[in-house]
Symmetry: C2
Subunit: 174 residues, 2 copies
């Protein structure tokens, strides 16, 4: 799956992957678009329900949430690879596109809560928490992309360092 990209995702390839035939797939999904939609929802749901870090409250909780996104493990790298690859398909399909927009908005909303909590604790300076959350999401998202294209330049340790740098400047500014 992660090998040939989203463009190489064919019904027969999927069928072969789970030792079945196209008959099974067409039996459960009326069309390929439905299958893709389901697969993407599954990916989203699976990454949402996987074991999360939880090392503390406030700023530490925000850091946990952001670390959970980064490709720090091979599995997380694969997930991110599929995820980034799906952007091509998503941008081509208006419905999927708005769907993605909503998912990212949800992600920002969850981050916003943690930003606000960190502000309560005085770990982050005041300011619109939604805006700070959007900035943090941007930072992590871009770091994901760069790490995928140049893993050697962005090993896990470096990613964590960069995130911590970012959070440090965020909390130092006032």
């Amino acid at each position: 799956m992660a090998a040939r990209g989203f463009a190489g995702l064919t019904l027969r390839a999927v069928a072969a992957e789970l030792d079945a035939t196209t008959g099974l797939l067409t039996h459960y999904f009326p069309t390929k678009q439905a299958l893709v939609r389901y697969a993407l929802d599954l990916l989203d749901q699976r990454t949402a329900s996987r074991p999360r870090r939880h090392t503390g409250a406030g700023l530490a909780a925000l850091r946990d949430a952001l670390l959970d996104i980064l490709p720090l493990t091979p599995e997380a790298t694969d997930s991110n690879r599929i995820w980034v690859s799906s952007w091509d398909t998503a941008l081509s399909d208006p419905d999927l596109s708005t769907d993605y927009g909503r998912k990212y908005a949800n992600g920002r909303a969850r981050l916003t809560e943690r930003v606000a909590a960190a502000q309560e604790l005085g770990e982050l300076p005041p300011g619109d928490p939604a805006r700070i959350a959007a900035g943090a999401q941007s930072f992590v998202l871009g770091l994901v992309v760069q790490a995928l294209f140049d893993p050697a330049a962005f090993p896990p340790q470096r990613q964590v360092e960069m995130l911590d740098d970012y959070l440090a400047t965020l909390s130092a500014a006032r």
Copy 2:
């Protein structure tokens, strides 16, 4: 081109776009991969040679470079859309993938110069300029993605505000 995504980029579609046939394309490009490679290089080169902002030195120059990346105009949005869509293809092809990694490394190198210059002027606190540049690139890259999926939530003005917020926290931290 920007309409049907990178997956829908077919020889016949390209030929139709420039009122020609597949014969012309196969005459100039031995294979489709060569055509794609050329197109991506062209996109990279074109965005590199387009008119750039130049409002000042130091931190202002860094801000200019980052603003040049963001989808603040319809044309820049189209370019970014194609660019993001191409990531699927790029991640599937190891050669293209390392090529992209190199391009981003070059981008970071250019940003690094500006970061260093801003540090010289005392507009940015000391610290490894390469790391700061990588962070800035991450931030902008992620902002591009979010803006593409949710243009309503990230209008040009908001993008600029977010970038300025980021640069402000960067320069305020010490």
